[in-house]
């Protein structure tokens, strides 16, 4: 799994405006842990609908930071939750997803200048 940020999109739209990029990265560091806490709660509650919803929500963030493989994983969780909510793979998949996110934080911090 490639967990390296690809900031091409953000650099392109902002003409390399580092203030803006920093703001976006800080937003990730502020918001993502909250979402992951919710996802974790949903995993403990076996609330598949909520797991799917949280996975859905992270997609646009992951896309924006160029974390395309992680985004695909989020999509897979979302779709499984929707199409086959009884699938026993959802829970371990979500836990794996959360583990990946944990490893993204240092990369994000590194991109801050």
């Amino acid at each position: 799994m490639n967990l390296t940020l690809d900031l091409t999109f953000l650099k392109e739209i902002s003409d390399g405006d580092q203030d803006f990029i920093n703001d976006v990265l800080h937003t990730f560091l502020d918001e993502m842990p909250k979402d992951m806490a919710q996802m974790n709660q949903a995993i403990m509650d076996k609330d598949i609908v909520m797991i799917g919803r949280m996975a859905h929500k992270t997609k646009s963030t992951l896309q924006t930071l160029g974390l395309f493989e992680l985004k695909e994983l989020a999509l897979k969780i979302e779709q499984l939750a929707k199409q086959t909510p009884s699938d026993t793979n959802i829970i371990p998949l979500s836990q794996k997803f959360m583990g990946h996110i944990d490893r993204v934080y240092p990369n994000v911090k590194e991109s801050l200048k």
Binding site: F9, L10, E12, I13, S14, F20, D23, V24, T27, F28, E31, R53, H56, K57, T58, K59, S60, T61, Q63, T64, L65, L75, Q79
Partner: protein, 457 residues
């Protein structure tokens, strides 16, 4: 394209804050864009009073479905352009929302600068072009609208129409006077519906029709428990007319203590509900009407002079029907068409004898009376053409004591001629026609009358 001077207001409704910030950044690259971000559907809906021009809507929000939010945005104002943002896999849903009134959609992975700008520019064009077309249309119809609801072509009414146009274009207080049935309420409505306030309410209150002790709370509202019977808080007419027009009919009948309160409300542009402390601002155009002579009431002390001047604003006097010449026939035809249509009678017309009869009558009840006469006539009429016997004039005639006076035949004659001359603005050819005598006969009678002084009555 006519753009608003204060910028384009764009709402972004998006629960992913990072993504929201990104598109806000893109959109604010254009300094004309004023962008706000809302994380939930509810937050967006409760800020619609800020009048966004464009809303970019995430179709899946935590608290409401995109469907619902879209519906409520469009219900608030169908002119708001809504862009649906969805994931690539959810294009089907987005397209469904297009059919339900969304204006465009974009998938989130495509939300780059070019796509976003293109979509916003396209929306701006369609929104503001549409607005422009609409205002153009409104301006075009404006000219016709008064004459659509208010019929008449007489010089007296032409003057009234000119004043109506002035009134509609401004916010000025308007005072309408005229005998009963001359169209005072119709004038008030026409002004409202031709003015920029037409989207607000037209709220009418007839001062003489409401019991005196209830009038105050009708006008100003009351708080719960303000008096026995005030079980709930009630908004008064002033509040209901906010952004619209408040029509105070028969203003001359208002009691002096309420006149004082009304004056204060008009001066301060705010009211206090009965039993309350809070002042409530209102923004309503005021139109008043009366069939009485207000300045006479002022000199009698029955109407406050300061209030009189405050309410006078643009005075519009409606002439009685008997001073509107041929308008009688125009109006009669108008009412005949309407009643024939309403009662599915097929096309009907006025016969010559009916026309003559209408022209010879003085209509103390004015247009309301004419309308009633025509409506009854249409039903009485056996065929398709109304004749004189179909028309019944019921209003009490002032001349009932006509035969009680002892007069010579010459005196009777001249009295009849003078009566009709007065009714028809001294138009001798019309009077001659009505009475079935020659014009020269009338001239001769008038001359004789001057030579033989009239008997005192």
């Amino acid at each position: 394209m006519k753009l608003p001077t204060d910028g384009i207001r764009i709402f972004i409704v998006e629960d992913d804050l990072l993504f929201a910030k990104t598109i806000r950044y893109i959109l604010t690259l254009n300094p004309d864009h004023e962008v706000r971000v809302f994380k939930t559907g509810k937050e967006c809906l409760s800020n619609l009073h800020l009048n966004p021009h464009i809303v970019s809507l995430d179709y899946s929000l935590p608290d409401m479905t995109g469907d619902e939010v879209l519906k409520r945005i469009k219900a608030h104002n169908p002119d708001i352009g809504v862009i649906i943002l969805s994931g690539q896999q959810d294009v089907a849903t987005a397209v469904e929302l297009l059919q339900k009134g969304a204006d465009d959609y974009l998938t989130k992975d495509e939300a780059n600068k070019e796509r976003l700008f293109n979509i916003v520019e396209k929306l701006k064009k369609s929104i503001f072009l549409q607005k422009e077309v609409e205002t153009l249309k409104e301006e075009l119809t404006e000219k016709y609208q008064f004459s659509e609801s208010m019929k008449g072509n007489s010089p007296a009414m032409q003057k009234v129409f000119k004043l109506l146009e002035k009134a509609a274009k401004s916010n000025i207080t308007v005072s309408v006077t005229g005998e009963t049935g001359t169209g005072k309420e119709l004038v008030a409505k026409s002004i409202h519906y031709n003015s920029s306030r037409k989207k607000g309410n037209f709220v009418a209150i007839n001062v003489s029709a409401i019991p005196k002790d209830l009038l105050e709370s009708e006008l100003f509202g009351h708080e719960k428990g303000a008096f026995t019977g005030a079980a709930t808080r009630k908004q008064g007419k002033f509040e209901l007319a906010n952004h619209g027009t408040l029509f105070l009919d028969e203003i001359g009948e208002m009691e002096l203590h309420l006149q004082a309160k009304l004056l204060r409300a008009l001066q301060e542009r705010e009211i206090t509900r009965i039993g309350g402390n809070e002042t409530v601002k209102f923004d309503a155009r005021i139109i008043v009407a009366t069939h009485r002579n207000l300045s006479e009431l002022v000199s009698k002390g029955a109407f406050r002079e300061d209030l009189y001047y405050r309410l006078l604003g643009l005075p519009i006097h409606l002439p009685p029907l008997r001073q509107r010449g041929n308008d009688v026939l125009i109006l009669a035809k108008h009412f005949l068409n309407m009643t024939a249509k309403e009662n599915k009678l097929g096309p009907m017309k006025l016969g010559q004898t009916a026309k003559d009869k209408l022209l010879s009558y003085n209509f103390p009840g004015n247009i309301r009376e004419l309308k009633a006469i025509i409506e009854l006539g249409a039903i009485m009429c056996a065929g398709k053409t109304i004749q004189r016997e179909d028309l019944q004039f019921n209003s009490p005639k002032k001349a009932t004591n006509f035969f009680l006076e002892e007069m010579t035949l010459r005196e009777y004659n001249i009295k009849i001629v003078r009566h009709y001359l007065e009714k028809h603005d001294n138009h001798i050819p019309i009077v001659a026609k009505i009475l079935g005598i020659g014009k020269t006969t009338i001239y001769r009678m008038l001359k004789e009358d001057e030579e033989y002084p009239q008997k005192e009555t």
